[in-house]
Symmetry: C2
Subunit: 426 residues, 2 copies
């Protein structure tokens, strides 16, 4: 049985709706002030004017509370989220197959509100087949040659997508491989991967401390007991890495060893990958802040036997190590988890193994290098970080394998081209 409310409690309750009539709360004892503040918040009565009234008391308890709960003068929304308009997003598709009909039709309901950039793999000979009803721009080898000009960068295979990152003029990019389709969640409902990527990017990331209930900014979640209040603001999320159902992004040896292994486990969560923790970034299903990170997403590492199925590539893994280091250095966040896409089977893992083997071995050199890599304070933009990183790659990995020296050259070249194309288009 509940005790009847105390007289004090009733008095505080009745004060809440009358706060606009007060002009000084400082005579109130501290515990009454805190109680009144919380009840005002819960009643949804905290306007800017009333917040100022509490701030004006100068009482430490209530000021700490305001700071801790991250309440700012802009009252709505209280959470430090941003919004993204549809016309701030380009969806970039690298077309490695000529017939995009089933791919685009599969995504029609979510793609139709966005502008698409389709970049045709320069190695692809056939004409692209694209269904009607999309707002899109197609780029081919001719466009690449004309816009980028003479360059050592290669835009063939999966690397063609990076050309889309280069010519986009929008703040955000979402990039999905052309063998992916919308996935269903645990309730059997198709998820809107675009909306989920955008939500990941518009809510803060929390790289400095792990939250056990995953992304605290998702609806229904929050920070748990023991999470420091001073870190709850988080940082801007610049990269959202989605996942895969059915054919997961395994490497060729794993898939060859377990040919029947499919991922049918939908984990409805997204989390910030902590600062200084490296991860394998897959290019299959990602979204990012192009203005902040574009210069750090490049086609730099090209395997001798690179192919047209994902497990024959390492370009995204290399780029992912670089971009994670850049994000950590610049104080930007990286999230991993939802959205999922459903990936169709393609390729033969045992055949691929002979090619990708080289890539698997390279990783063992790369990881210790990136784990110990730290950038100088003077590197304050993604461009500067990439150029500095390229120099270090050359010094420390250049002798281990020629592929690393070439990757370093491509990183520098990418920054040059990024600036050139950017200055032309603006």
């Amino acid at each position: 049985m509940r005790n009847p409310p105390s007289l004090l409690s009733l008095a505080i309750d009745s004060a809440v709706p009358n706060l606009p009539n007060f002009d000084d709360l400082s005579p109130l004892p501290d515990h009454v002030l805190v109680d009144l503040f919380l009840r005002t918040l819960r009643a949804g009565k905290l306007t800017e004017k009333i917040l100022n009234l509490f701030v004006a008391t100068g009482k430490e308890e209530v000021l700490t509370l305001i700071r801790s709960l991250n309440i700012r003068r802009v009252i709505t929304p209280v959470l430090p989220t941003t919004t993204i308009k549809d016309n701030e997003v380009d969806i970039v598709i690298g077309a490695l197959r000529s017939d995009l009909t089933s791919f685009l039709n599969g995504w029609r309901s979510v793609f139709s509100q966005f502008h698409l950039i389709i970049v045709k793999d320069p190695d692809l000979k056939e004409e692209l087949k694209i269904p009607d009803g999309f707002n899109l721009t197609v780029y081919t080898k001719t466009d690449i040659d004309q816009i980028v000009g003479s360059t050592a960068l290669s835009f063939s295979g999966y690397s063609c997508r990076y050309f889309g990152f280069l010519v986009s003029k929008r703040k955000y990019i979402i990039s999905i491989d052309d063998d992916c389709f919308p996935a269903k969640d645990n309730k059997g409902i198709f998820v809107d991967a675009m909306a989920q990527h955008i939500e990941n990017l518009t809510t803060p990331a929390t790289p400095f401390f792990f939250n056990t209930l995953y992304d605290p900014y998702r609806e229904g979640a929050d920070f748990v007991r023991g999470y420091p209040f001073s870190l709850r603001n988080g940082v801007d999320c610049a990269l959202s890495c989605g996942l895969w159902l059915n054919l997961a992004d395994l490497d060729a040896p794993t898939q060859a060893l377990k040919p029947g292994l499919r991922n049918n486990h939908y984990v409805d969560a997204v989390l910030t990958v902590p600062r200084t923790t490296l991860m394998p970034v897959s290019g299959i299903n990602i979204a990012f802040d192009r203005e902040a990170l574009g210069p750090a997403l490049f086609p730099a590492l090209k395997l001798a036997g690179e192919g047209k199925v994902r497990w024959e590539t390492m370009e995204d893994i290399w780029c992912g190590m670089c971009v994670k280091v850049v994000c950590d250095h610049l104080g930007l966040g990286v999230k991993s988890g939802i959205p999922y896409v459903w990936r169709k089977d393609r390729g033969n893992a045992v055949e691929s193994l002979k090619k990708e083997w080289e890539g698997v071995k390279l990783m063992e050199e790369i990881v210790p290098f990136f784990q110990s890599l730290s950038l100088s304070r003077t590197a304050a933009t993604a461009e500067e970080c990439v150029v500095e990183m390229a120099t270090t790659v050359k010094q420390h990995l250049g002798t281990a394998h020629p592929v690393f020296g070439r990757a370093a050259d491509s990183m520098v070249e990418w920054v040059r081209v990024w600036k050139a194309v950017g200055s032309k288009s603006s």
Copy 2:
């Protein structure tokens, strides 16, 4: 349409079942050898003898493959898992309420195969009510006084559970708060939290690199493309931190601000919290390797206004920061995620806020301290880590707030008591 198999492919297939008749594979070309090895693996024909046959070829490709796939001479199981017997586990329950009938009956089907240690909160006056049919030992204030003797350690409230950690003689402890009940998964099926904790502890943790598909050792999961093979072995998992449905482990300000907030989001995942990443360890639902970590799980930080509901305590949060640093230092892993427990509502968050406010403020001092804390190489056991950490706490936090100085004293005292009780019982 599939192409017909090549003659070579058919020849390799027919070789697989005949391998026991070969005594030398070295004349085979490298690519045939690799192919034969993979097909042998997939056919489940890799015995120790046949593995030796491949190793004896001395061919680099196949040796690297064997190393990378973590195949060891002990063929079954290939995964480096261990097994835990029921009699290696104690379930420890701190009894803060006298009537444990509904709690124990709720867990009957999973608890009944284990030995339980029930420690009665020394502040609790009433007799415990315990239903029949469990294999258990009850400890009361009398036992605490007798076994620990004169000590400044406090075992009151939630801290009583730590006495159970002390007197257990088993390798593993699972500890669940007495306001928790079995939770249901997304399919509405009750989960066996004990089995899930044990699975977390018996499969390796991977703290050095993030795996985007979460715990790669769960059934149906694996390491993704780009995950370094040299890190796939992982390390021993020493601590498994479970989660909570219904009433989540929020702090009092958050729960006061969002009184209706309940966690109904079951995320079917568990992951390794990366090395050097700190986290809020909640004592509500955890399991650990007592032999490895017991000396580092202690009741050290006692708030002046500590109470009998979780958001009025910080003892587990402090201990969690310490234990994470110890695990990182000793090369042990910490997992967070499943199993969930279902927590019943208890307490009034607004009332608690006045007490726990102190704890919320302390966190802001603690986090930078633990983030920069590094232990010396000479600290090679949990005991040694704790003693060294206590000295550092005293030096760096002792002046900030007296509660930290007392915590440091309790840590040293805990190690003393741990050794004394351990030597008595052995």
